[in-house]
């Protein structure tokens, strides 16, 4: 073993625990379509549900800050993901709720243009979806 390969190996060994601590789903977040993002999340073909609530303005004047409040009343909801269909990278966030947390989150997102926003909740191991269109007057992804 050369000294260089030994150093490379050490680097890999040292880098690994850090990667485990902070998981970030590169496949899903790197997806350029909502369908690929869903696949990356392992939540393909979600069933429409009325038990997922999306509170958001119908028209957002400033696409740089669009407030969205989401919650699920589906029993056994363990995660909620937000997908902004027409953003360059649609998957915006995935929230895992453990025992002790309600499946609720409020956040501000950037939207490049008017788009459907899909909220995907996993409940009892199955994916469900609700969709809401938000119109954007001034896009908020460049600058």
């Amino acid at each position: 073993m050369t000294r260089r390969s030994l150093l490379a190996l050490l680097g890999v060994l040292l880098a690994k625990p850090l990667a485990v601590l902070a998981a970030w789903n590169e496949q899903a977040f790197g997806a350029k379509s909502a369908a690929d993002a869903l696949k990356g999340l392992g939540a393909g073909a979600p069933q429409p549900s009325k038990d997922i609530l999306i509170e958001a303005p119908q028209i957002a004047e400033n696409g740089a800050v669009v407030p969205i409040e989401i919650s699920s009343s589906l029993p056994g909801t363990t995660s909620i993901a937000v997908i902004i269909e027409k953003n360059p990278f649609p998957l915006t966030g995935k929230f895992d709720f453990k025992d002790g947390a309600l499946p609720f989150v409020k956040l501000n997102v950037k939207m490049g243009e008017t788009s459907d926003v899909r909220v995907v909740a996993v409940a009892g191991g199955k994916p469900y979806v609700a969709t809401r269109e938000i119109k954007v007057t001034i896009g908020g992804c460049g600058g």
Binding site: A22, A23, W24, N25, F29, A64, V65, V66, E69, I84, N87, P88, F89, L91, T92, G93, K94, F95, D96, F97, K98, D99, G100, A101, L102, F104, V105, K106, L107, N108, V109, K110, M111, G140, C141, G142, G143
Partner: protein, 97 residues
Amino acid sequence: MAGPMKMRATLAGGNTDVRVLMTHPMTTAQMKEGLHHIQNVAVKQNGRTVVEAEISQAVSRNPVFTFRLKGGAKGDRIEVSWLDNKGETNKIETAVA
């Protein structure tokens, strides 16, 4: 450099609402500053992880989140931490008021 955070945890309707602000540029690859965004957020209640989130560059600059925890009592310790794509990290702890 990791900027300051602000957090408020209050009892409301029998649950605990946690509102947290993170100072962070949250820039996308299209911006001149280049890709720099928070990737991971974790919420702990009395030392136990209750919410784990992965987020993208499409979360607005200086992210503000509200989370809702079941039940809770005055004095519960709430901690929120984040980690970004450059390895920077920050956290804040407060007691439920």
